[in-house]
Structure formats: structure tokens, C-alpha cells
Symmetry: C2
Subunit: 269 residues, 2 copies
DNA sequence: GAGTGGTCTAGACCACCGA
DNA sequence: CGGTGGTCTAGACCACTCT
């Protein structure tokens, strides 16, 4: 056992009972056993339940005391695990009510990934117009970023987003065909709200984090036409890969942003 | 008293002794008294000591038990306060050694604000060449962003930064003259390493966080010459305001980044 | 009032560091 | 070895929400 002496359940080398096996968290190759703290193991167990859909987005998860009983640890340990999950935006705590599985269906979450905001006026969500939705074979670069094999089936989506009827964003998305089987133009068009919300409820795939690379480029003819601007206008170009549980890449999104009346807002902390 | 019953020191309406007055944290206008938890008050007290320079960047601060004794609270409460300070990057914990005041003189900190990295190869710090350093009166827009009055003295700095001898960044900085009195071109040139390090050690002003707005623009004649590129080349344009303690703005930095072989890297969490 | 998360305490032991 | 932060527990009370 690792830190707490009077508790022989989770990290124990061999203990009989309880609902959670988890020899877990040992890099046990040789020399150093590399133990991990109890609360990290609890966090991993809870994360598994989230990933498996045992508790769905927006739902209430069991209370701290109940989880403490289930895992045979103190409430404080569960608390620390959930604290981290909340910091990771996997879960949301609400005093007096309980802890809820985080969801992209919330005003709060809408601007976590969309960082383009109007220079003046309040941030709001743009309107989408879909240009293209089709099943294709993954080009090499897309396959590499999505951890697929070149030629694997992917879904390609192209759309234009407008703020106050002014076209401002051209976006191309690539999604693994296996995961997003059955995603059609109709589903996309009829669905109102952020796409990540649809992915979450319709395909059980929740975006956890993303990595973005940003450049300045000249608008090519295609983008220029869609955005009603002169070819050659400078655009902000973003390439973003989004990840679900287990750091699995599940979306590649290339965006071209018109930044004459909008800007990309970033907070450095 | 607020949460803890057996402890009449920090938040107490009127208590005699102890080194920390702090009636603190009450929005006491009318109706709701708006108490704040003990650990938040401890956090505020420690932050004051950091701001006042009682413990300088890089130095060791008193141990948790000592602070607990000083503030007459439990170690757990001090711990939670320091946990938040560490999350805010004001302080750095090192097991077995102690807690240190964070500093910008560390490889770790160098890329917290500089997000432009080479497309290939390892991130590294660019070389600076200073074009201009002078005392001027603040234009209206600069004054507004730095919370000064139009016409107040400010220091203007212009420089070019190069990666592997390739000029890549043009930067213009505006600093409040009052705070950075005595900042000269010589000091800047002789100083090696990140400018925030110099600000911290030479002027006692530590940058805590920053807010950045990013756009795509065309290179004007001046930038084009400095970066050895054609006028009109698309550049990534960033306007950043940095803040010290108390959310006081103390730097305006406008940057133009050449993104042909570099990109702005951002993690969305 | 019962149940939830939020705060606070006290005490134990562990992992790491330096002398 | 003693000192530091890191983990874990157990129990108390507070603030909030709903019924």
C-alpha cells in the first residue's frame, strides 16, 4: 500500500473485495514501482465511468459520500479526485445540488473552443451554412493528424459561419468515419447549436481538449468568394485537432477567419 | 465568524490579537454581508506579501506550518491557499524543498507568454535587436489600455526578434513611464533573456497574466523592411495587455509575426 | 429538514530533499 | 536525520437547494 496505511483496497497488491479492481498505475517494469496517489486512481475510475457513458452529459453523478463508500476511501479523497475532474472541465460542481457531467449544451461551454469574437458588441454564436458534407478517403496529412491510416474513411464537412449575416468563417472539418458513421448533411442542418453538442449526444463522442496552430495567410479564390472579399485579403488560419478521452484525436478542423471586425481572443495565464 | 467555529482570528468582526487584521472580503453595502472563506483571505494576505516584495522572485517563502502558525489557522487552510497561488503561477511548490516565489527567469516560464514556435525543430528563444527606445507622451489609445491619462509619460520600445538569424517578429511596447523610470536602451541591450525577467528584477514589476487579441493583417512598408519581406505579406498581428498584481495593466505590446515558418500555438482546455 | 458540495481542523504517515 | 510538501482520514459545521 502506498500512502494511507489503514486502507487496503484500491492500490493494494492483493485484496479481496470491492467494486474496483485497479491494480493500476504501476510502471512496474523493473527498478521503480511508480505508485500513484489514491485520488489519482479514483479520478481514473470516475473518468472511466464518464467515458463508458455510465453517467451521461448533463446528468448528475453519485454524491461524494456515495462514491467514497463505493470506492472504500474517505470523502476527502473523492473530493480531491472530483476537484481535478472539475478543473479539467469533465464535470461541473453545483453547491447544494451535486456534481454533473459536463456538456457542450451550455452557453458557458460555447466559447471554450470558439475564440473569434466581434470587436464591438457582445460575443454571440454565428449562423452556419453547410457547403459540403461527404464521405471521402483520408488524405495523408489528415490521416496522420487523426491517427488513422491514409485512405481510411473520413467525413468531410465544409461550412461558412456568419455573424449578423456577415460571412466571417470558412471551416473544413475532417472526422473519423468509423466514429461518426451516419452523420449526414440533414442532421447537421436541422441541428441548432454548437456542433460539439451534436457530436456528444448523437455520437457519444465528447471533445475534451484541443490543440491549435494559427497563421496569417492570403485568402485563396474559394475562400474569397465564400466570404465576399477580395482574393488576397489576409485571413487568420487555424488548424485545430480535438481530442476525446484517452487523448484520442477525433476531429481535424481547419478554419479561415476574417478579422476585419472580429478578433481571436486569448487569455495568457 | 464564518465557517470555522473554533477560530476567532482572521474574519472575526472584532478580535484582539494576531499579525493579520483583515476584516476583509465583505461587500458590506447592505443586505448580504458576502463573507469569503478563510483560505481566500489567507491567499490574499500571502499575495500582499508577494506584491510588497517581502519575499522576492525566486526566494523561498515560509513553510506551510510556519504560515499556519503566523495566521493562526490550520496547515490545511494554508495549503489550500498556496494551492491556488501555485495554480495562478504566483508561486512554485517543490516537494522536500519548499515553496518558491515564481520568477520569469526560468526556461519553464519563457514560453508562457511567447506562443510563436517554429513549425519544425524545438522551440527556442529568439534574439532581440532594438530599433528604438524613447520616452514619449501616451497616445489616447495607449493611455486607455494602460489605464493612464492621455499625454502621460510612457516608454516606447521597438524591436525585431529573430529565430536562427531570420527576422520574424516586429514588436512595439508601451510601458508606464512612472513604473519603468530609468529604463534605457543600454539596459535592454546588455540584458540577455526575456524582458519580463528584467522588469521583474530591475523594476519590481511582475507580469501575472495577459489578454491578447489576434488578427491577420498585411505587412506595411515599415514591417516589411524590418522582416525582409514584400510589403503586403500577411502577418499575424497581436495586441496584448499584461497585468501585475491587482489586475493593474502595465504593458501594451503590439506584435507582428511572420508565420511562414512559425505558428502561434494554443492549447484549448 | 434532508441532502449536496464547501470549508476547516487535527493528526497521521509518506516521498523527497539536503545536511 | 529533520524539514518540506504530498496524501489520507475522520469528524465537525456551513451554505445552498429542493421538497
Amino acid at each position: 500500500m502506498n500512502p494511507a496505511p489503514p486502507n487496503p483496497t484500491v492500490n493494494a497488491p492483493a485484496s479481496g473485495a470491492a467494486a474496483s479492481p485497479t491494480p493500476a498505475a504501476s510502471g512496474s517494469a523493473a527498478g521503480s514501482p511508480t505508485f500513484s496517489p489514491l485520488y489519482q486512481q479514483i479520478k481514473a475510475l470516475i473518468t472511466q465511468s464518464l467515458q463508458s457513458g455510465e453517467w451521461k452529459p448533463g446528468e448528475l453523478i453519485p454524491s461524494e459520500v456515495e462514491l467514497a463508500g463505493r470506492f472504500k476511501v474517505s470523502q476527502g479523497t473523492v473530493r480531491k479526485a472530483i476537484d481535478e475532474l472539475a478543473a479539467d472541465n469533465l464535470v461541473m460542481r453545483r453547491q447544494g445540488k451535486g456534481t454533473f457531467v459536463a456538456t457542450h449544451h451550455e452557453a458557458r461551454a460555447h466559447f471554450r473552443f470558439l475564440r473569434l469574437v466581434p470587436d464591438e458588441g457582445v460575443p454571440h454564436y454565428p449562423e452556419s451554412k453547410f457547403i459540403d458534407v461527404r464521405r471521402v478517403r483520408a488524405p495523408a496529412d489528415v490521416a496522420r493528424l487523426l491517427d488513422l491510416k491514409s485512405g481510411d474513411a473520413v467525413i468531410f464537412i465544409k461550412r461558412v459561419q456568419s455573424f449578423d449575416a456577415v460571412p466571417t468563417i470558412v471551416e473544413e472539418l475532417w472526422l473519423p468515419g468509423l466514429i461518426f458513421k451516419g452523420l449526414t448533411a440533414e442532421r447537421l442542418v436541422e441541428y441548432k447549436g454548437p456542433m460539439y453538442g451534436l457530436f456528444e449526444t448523437e455520437f457519444g463522442t465528447r471533445m475534451i481538449r484541443a490543440s491549435e496552430q494559427i497563421r496569417a495567410v492570403c485568402a485563396d479564390a474559394g475562400a474569397a468568394e465564400l466570404l465576399h472579399i477580395a482574393s488576397g485579403t489576409p485571413l487568420l488560419c487555424s488548424e485545430r485537432v480535438s481530442f476525446t478521452y484517452g487523448d484520442k484525436p477525433v476531429e481535424l478542423r481547419r478554419g479561415w477567419y476574417l478579422t476585419t471586425r472580429h478578433h481571436y481572443q486569448n487569455e495568457l495565464n
